[in-house]
């Protein structure tokens, strides 16, 4: 896609005190595409996402939305732009039903009375648009839902508000095989509906199953953002663990610098052996 990306980050820096977590990170997310954000533990994925979501302010760099520079100081700013983040813990209220959760904090009212029929209808339509067939009744309590169904509700909650960018933080981490497949199908569906989807995952199978683009963070730097079809499984693993693979990724000098600068606090380098062994 050659159109302007919905979300574009240029040269993002972010430090917490003396620790620089993000160094000059570039990142783009296009409409209609799933962009996977991968990287080892401590690579800066969560920090980057929280910068996108307005939870952390960025130190320097540009945040472009629809090609226009914007400032995002709070989660509210991000929501106003149409950026929604589904965190790993989902943050659903188990004692409320699906509709109540989807509208939590943004209830529709008529006067001071909750407009239940409208909310129920909108929630039903959203689930339908996402081709969700897994929930029996949208008046079920979330407590009675499986992990995959909860993930579905959390995602539906995020897209209910005509959002443009949806960031999913490890949506399949806690799910079984069948439920993972359901959620990945939903992720694909979101992109097909025209949203820009950012998928954080440690699971390379999931990444290759749905991603159009793969962005790989290595110790706070963007090692590479490439088309999923242009790289192989092992190349991505190399990018994650070593920051470079062949002519892809960070220049050797930068890898060394990143290692010296950040390696001490997050143990990222020492984990390399395990990571390779696991795959």
């Amino acid at each position: 896609m050659t159109a302007t990306p919905i979300l574009e980050l240029r040269g993002i820096d972010k430090s917490f005190g003396p620790v620089q977590v993000l160094r000059h990170v570039d990142f783009t997310a296009n409409a209609g595409e799933v962009t996977a954000l991968v990287g080892d533990n401590g690579a800066g994925k969560s920090t980057l996402v929280k910068c996108v979501g307005g939870i952390y302010p960025i130190d320097s760099g540009e945040y472009l939305f629809d090609g226009k520079p914007v400032t995002v100081h709070s989660p509210r700013d991000a929501s106003a732009l149409g950026v929604e983040i589904v965190y790993q813990d989902l943050a659903l209220c188990e004692n409320l039903d699906i509709v109540q959760n989807m509208f939590l904090g943004r209830e529709r009212t008529r006067g001071i009375i909750l407009d239940e029929p409208t909310m129920e209808q909108m929630a039903g339509e959203t689930l339908d648009r996402l081709s969700v067939r897994t929930v029996k009744s949208i008046r079920q309590l979330v407590a009675s839902l499986s992990g995959g169904q909860r993930q579905t509700v959390a995602i539906a909650k995020a897209v209910l508000w005509n959002s443009r960018v949806v960031v999913l933080d490890e949506p399949t981490a806690a799910l079984g095989v069948a439920q993972t497949a359901q959620v990945l199908e939903l992720v694909r569906q979101l992109a097909d509906n025209g949203l820009a989807v950012v998928l954080i995952s440690h699971n390379m199978n999931d990444v290759f199953a749905v991603a159009d683009q793969i962005a790989c963070l290595y110790l706070g730097r963007m090692a590479a953002q490439v088309k999923a079809t242009d790289v192989t499984y092992s190349q991505v693993v190399e990018l994650i663990t070593a920051g470079r693979s062949g002519d892809l990724g960070l220049p050797t000098a930068a890898v060394a610098a990143a290692g010296n600068g950040n390696g001490s606090h997050d143990g990222g380098v020492t984990d390399l052996g395990d990571m390779n062994g696991a795959h």
Binding site: A3, I6, A31, P75, R76, G82, Y87, D89, L90, A91, L92, C93, E94, N95, L96, Q100, N101, L104, G105, R106, E107, T109, I112, I113, L114, P117, E120, Q121, G124, E125, T126, L127, D128, R129, V132, R133, V135, K136, S137, I138, R139, Q140, L141, A143, S144, V159, N162, S163, R164, N193, G194, L195
Partner: protein, 420 residues
């Protein structure tokens, strides 16, 4: 590039099948088996207790005793109705009993010592309750002290405050006819019937209107037969109650006729309707449940969690003020033990027996009324049987423990069956 266009021609909502009466009954049974019993234990307990006491002491079913149940139980019920809001957040207010004592004392002092009119003294008492609630709520929500500790401290402090207000524990009597009349006077019989008819028609209207507006949008609705059963049950129970309360219950009617629904009943009904409306039909109520279910989820949804928690304590102490007013009205006076001794534990017991969870997130205002009725019946019935106060305390304590046990076990069961 506008996100998510609705595909044309979709009307059906998942799960929007109109269930028949049988489906609803099956669903209800399924919920109960799954551990979500709501007020059912309280209702069954109430019926069993009434039958037992009625057989053992026929005087239990006399008109005078029936009316007594309402006036005796009203303070506990009113405090419990406020406690439901705090319990819904998973917090507790141990000071509500003595808060009601403080508010009652303020009202009595203003009425008797300062000769204020009732229409100033009663709002002053309620305002006192609101201020107490703000202080407790800020200490819990903003400072971050656990509610158990804050209200335990307040329990002691308010006990002392009542003593100070009553300068060394003297009784203050009140003689204001309106204030005394809250507990002592009754509605004229015709007004009792009229209010019942209004309530039943209003309930039927709300239910039918809701069903119609949902049906118009193609959403699932309760079948008409279910609505008819609910409305019919309300009408029958209400009619039996009003009929007995309207019967002559004076020992010597020629001297002083005594009949009609006690004034405190419409007071409780109105507060019950307001509380139920707030909890189930407003954004504020929804947010109370949300904070009780998951504070973090509520915070991320943009809900001002601190504000919700403070308001719950304000409502609780405000309702405690109503309880205090009723208690003072019933005794014609206030003493250092108004709102003390067993009142608070009876109120917590009432809410929990009625089906409100101590773990937060589950409960309704009606729970407090049903549970309060159970507590009042135990207290009254055992008194009639001639048991001492000691036995009554023990039995009520056991019932509270039983209710909390049912709450805890049903949570476990619900977790196993995936309901909660």
């Amino acid at each position: 590039m506008t996100a998510l266009q609705t595909p044309p021609g979709r009307t059906e909502v998942p799960g929007a099948a109109n269930g028949s009466l049988g489906d609803h009954a099956r669903q209800y049974l399924g919920r109960i088996r799954g551990g979500d019993m709501g007020s059912l234990p309280a209702l069954l307990g109430l019926i069993v207790l009434c039958i037992v006491f009625g057989i053992m002491r026929p005087v239990f079913f006399s008109e005078i005793n029936f009316a007594n149940l309402f006036t005796q139980g009203s303070q506990v019920v009113l405090i419990a109705m406020g406690l439901v809001f705090v319990l819904l957040l998973g917090e507790i207010d141990l000071s509500a009993g003595f808060a009601s004592g403080v508010c009652g004392a303020i009202m009595a002092i203003l009425l008797t010592n300062d000769h204020w009119a009732w229409y100033l003294a009663i709002p002053a008492a309620i305002l006192t309750g609101v201020i107490i609630g703000v202080v407790l709520g800020v200490l819990v929500a903003k400072v971050g002290i656990p509610s158990f500790v804050v209200t335990l401290a307040a329990f002691l402090a308010f006990q002392g405050l009542v003593l100070l207000l009553l300068t060394g524990g003297k009784n203050i009597s009140i003689s204001d006819p309106f204030t005394v009349g809250i507990e002592k006077d009754n509605l004229p019989p015709w007004l009792g019937w009229t209010l019942l008819v209004v309530c039943v028609l209003g309930y039927a209207g709300v239910q039918l209107n809701r069903a119609r507006s949902r049906a118009n949008r193609g959403l699932a609705t309760d079948p008409l037969s279910l609505i008819a059963i609910k409305v019919g049950a309300l009408a029958v129970v209400g009619a039996i109650g009003v009929y007995f309360l309207n019967a002559e219950r004076a020992i010597n009617p020629a001297f002083h006729s005594l009949k009609g629904v006690p004034n405190v009943v419409p007071l409780i009904v109105v507060l019950l309707l307001i509380g139920t409306f707030v909890l189930s039909r407003t954004t504020f109520g929804r947010h109370i449940y949300a904070v009780g279910g998951s504070k973090e989820a509520a915070r991320r949804a943009g809900i001002n969690v601190d504000r919700i928690r403070i308001s719950a304590f304000v409502i609780c102490s405000g309702m405690a003020a109503f309880g205090g007013i009723v208690a003072v009205s019933r005794a014609d006076s206030v003493d250092p033990n108004t709102g003390g001794s067993n009142i608070l534990l009876y109120a917590v017991g009432a809410a929990v027996i009625g089906g409100t969870s101590l773990f937060g997130g589950k409960g309704r205002v009606i729970d407090a009324v049903l549970g309060g009725a159970v507590v009042a019946v135990i207290d009254n019935g055992m008194g009639l049987m001639g048991y001492s106060a000691g036995t009554k305390y023990i039995v009520t304590g056991v019932v509270l423990l039983l209710a909390a046990g049912v709450d805890a076990l049903s949570r476990r069961r619900a977790a196993a069956s995936g309901l909660r």
